[in-house]
């Protein structure tokens, strides 16, 4: 039952997307083109995020550590 309502909700969401982007009015081949474009953009964004996010986050984390008081540790490590 829950899965069914979830399914309905997703379908409704898809309808809204179709209405807003006007893909509701498109011919099938245009839809294919439109969705291919959208999905490929989405995949690229996701892939980029997957590749670069961890690196960026770890650098940001390092930077934050550097800013807020973990200097001591670092100096110690340098001294050692």
């Amino acid at each position: 039952m829950d899965i069914k309502s979830m399914k309905n909700y997703l379908y409704w969401l898809y309808c809204q997307f179709e209405l807003i982007t006007c893909s509701y009015l498109m011919e099938p081949w245009e839809k294919v083109l439109f969705y291919t474009f959208n999905v490929s953009m989405l995949v690229m964004v996701a892939y980029t995020a997957y590749i670069f996010f961890p690196v960026h986050i770890s650098t940001a984390f390092q930077f934050c550590l550097h800013l807020f008081g973990s200097q001591h540790e670092n100096t110690v490590s340098v001294v050692k």
Binding site: E18, T21, C22, Y24, M26, F34
Partner: protein
């Protein structure tokens, strides 16, 4: 800056022959109304004055929510991109080109079919074309039968399946008082006249086409409107577009509301007069134009304008708003201009006895110089009329193109108008007409109230039987029309170029023929479709027309 001021003061000092002036100085309701500082000078700005109105004037236009506007533009953006893609494919013969193109031997001529509106028709309108021009095959009363049709090539051509969709609730016809009938007294009378006179007249009014029925109709119309004389024409559109050129010409000025109907716009352009547009129902804008016209006169020569004609409509068919007639009349009197009032939608539909917007506001019909209206809507017939002073009508009889050249009204149509008009006036000995007018007012209030409660954005005046429901997004225009027809309700959806590009809407026209059950069914289905398509945009933040931002008001100018 000094010149206009002095001129305005001089005008203000004249005694105003204005029936409303006593009330005009009373309740100054809003901040726009500011009199001159000295108490002994007469206040010459009476516009937007609550005291002019004898009844509450509730008209609201809710603002378009920002998110909706952005998403609408996104939709148009996607469609436009795909439109360019399709045009590209048509050009390179990848796709079959089905629209009108120049002939091979005329390829290098100036193109006939290649402007933006054509791009729109080809690439945007074509996708939702099935929502318009649906053929009906019964009398367009409260319920209507429609022919089913399908398209196998995405709306470029249609084929009829031969089936009929029966009993569609008709929310689209301008059948305000329910006189579009195929039975009843009107039909019987028209049938009797048809068997006596036949259907066609085969001549114009000036020649052999002037029947006793036409004379009878014109006397009746004059009596109905409360004017000296009236004239009837065979076509409502031509009444406007052919009579305005007869009234004004070169050296005259037309002040036209920005949302005036195409017939008024065409008539104004044909006349050759200078045309200036004021903002919709905005009296500051109108007064500024009037003042400028009087102060500056014609451009370059600076001669005074020969005539100034104000063109307004009673009910605006796309906005559902009612003209601020008391203020327009006050301004017209103050600046000594003429007023042309198009009552196409309001005649029969407004006022306690259906005499239109003049009666609705409790005004004197003599204050309106040219009263124009149509028989196509409330009277369930065809044609238009012009009413006014006897001299005006006599002048038009000899000067108007649609009087001289157009074939006169068909006798059964005339009889339909006469019978329905007498019914509204109560001269048939019943109270049926009166009840229809009341029923329409009731239906209007009920329908508008319920839609508002549901959370739709509804435009216009609360007493106007034209109810625009905002759809905004282009895909929703098509979806709304189709979904409603699926639920057996016929609606009219409107998009660009009839409306601004983002303000697409569905327009319901109420009728006295709608029963409460029909309205309830329609409302239930509208509610359902509204949930399905997410049309309930309203956040109940109403912007009364008065508080809409204006670029400039005359008052600011007179202050410096």
């Amino acid at each position: 800056m000094e010149r206009p001021e002095r001129a305005a003061a001089a005008l203000g000092a004249q005694p105003r022959a204005n029936g409303c002036s006593g009330a005009a100085h009373g309740g100054l309701r809003n901040g726009y109304v500011r009199g001159l500082p000295a108490p002994d000078t007469q206040i010459n700005h009476i516009v937007h004055n609550g005291g002019l109105y004898k009844r509450p004037f509730n008209e609201a236009f809710e603002e378009t929510p920002m998110l909706v506007a952005v998403l609408t533009y996104v939709g148009y953006g996607v469609l436009t991109l795909f439109g360019y893609l399709r045009d590209f494919m048509r050009q390179w013969k990848i796709e079959k080109c089905q629209n009108a193109i120049e002939r091979e031997e005329q390829k290098d001529f100036v193109p006939l079919y290649q402007d933006f509106e054509n791009f729109y028709t080809r690439n945007l309108y074509m996708r939702i074309r099935d929502t318009w021009n649906r053929p009906i095959c019964s009398v367009p009363g409260a319920k209507v039968d429609m022919m089913e049709r399908v398209s196998h090539d995405y709306n470029w051509t249609f084929t009829y399946t031969g089936r009929v969709i029966k009993g569609v609730i008709n929310m689209g016809s301008y059948n305000y008082l329910g006189f579009a009938q195929n039975d009843g007294t009107c039909q019987q009378a028209a049938a009797k006249v048809l068997s006596r006179y036949g259907a066609g007249v085969c001549s114009s009014r000036q020649e052999m086409g002037n029947l006793d029925k036409h004379e009878e109709l014109e006397k009746l119309v004059a009596r109905f409107l409360g004017v000296e004389s009236a004239m009837a024409y065979g076509m409502g559109f031509a009444t406007n577009s052919m009579n305005i050129p007869a009234l004004v010409g070169k050296g005259c000025l037309i002040l036209s509301d920005e949302l005036n109907h195409a017939s008024l716009v065409l008539g104004a352009r044909l006349s050759g007069a200078a045309i200036r547009i004021f903002k919709h129902n905005n009296m500051q804008s109108l007064e500024k134009l009037l003042k400028d016209a009087i102060v500056h006169g014609q451009p370059r020569t600076r001669r005074p304008w020969k005539k100034i004609l104000i063109l307004v409509e009673g009910i605006y068919s796309m906005e559902g708003s009612i003209v601020r007639l008391p203020e327009v009349i006050a301004l017209k009197k103050k600046y000594k201009s003429y007023l042309y009032l198009d009552e196409a939608h309001s005649i029969g539909a407004l006022g306690p006895t259906g005499r239109g917007v003049v009666e609705y506001f409790g005004l004197n019909p003599e204050d309106v110089d040219v009263m124009m209206g149509t028989f196509t809507k409330s009277f369930g017939a065809a044609g238009g009329y012009i009413g006014g002073k006897k001299e005006l009508i006599d002048y038009l009889r000899t000067h108007s193109h649609s009087a001289v050249y157009a074939t006169s009204l068909s006798p059964p149509v005339v009889e339909q108008i006469i019978t329905s008009m007498k019914c509204i006036m109560g001269e048939d000995g019943t109270t049926f007409g009166r009840e229809c007018v009341q029923q329409l007012a009731e239906n209007t209030r009920y329908f508008r109230r319920r839609l508002k409660e549901m959370g739709f954005i509804i435009y216009g005046n609360e007493d106007s039987p034209v109810v625009p429901l905002m759809l905004y997004m282009p895909a929703k225009i098509g979806a709304f029309g189709r979904e409603m027809l699926k639920r057996n309700i016929g609606v009219v959806v409107v998009g660009f170029p009839a409306t601004p590009i983002i303000e697409s809407r569905a327009r319901f026209c109420l009728s006295a023929a709608h029963t409460k059950e029909m309205l309830d069914t329609a409302l239930k289905e509208i509610n359902e479709v509204g949930d399905l398509l997410q049309l309930k945009y309203s956040r109940h933040r109403l912007v009364p027309l008065l508080d809409r931002p204006f670029d400039e008001t005359t008052y600011e100018e007179t202050e410096d």
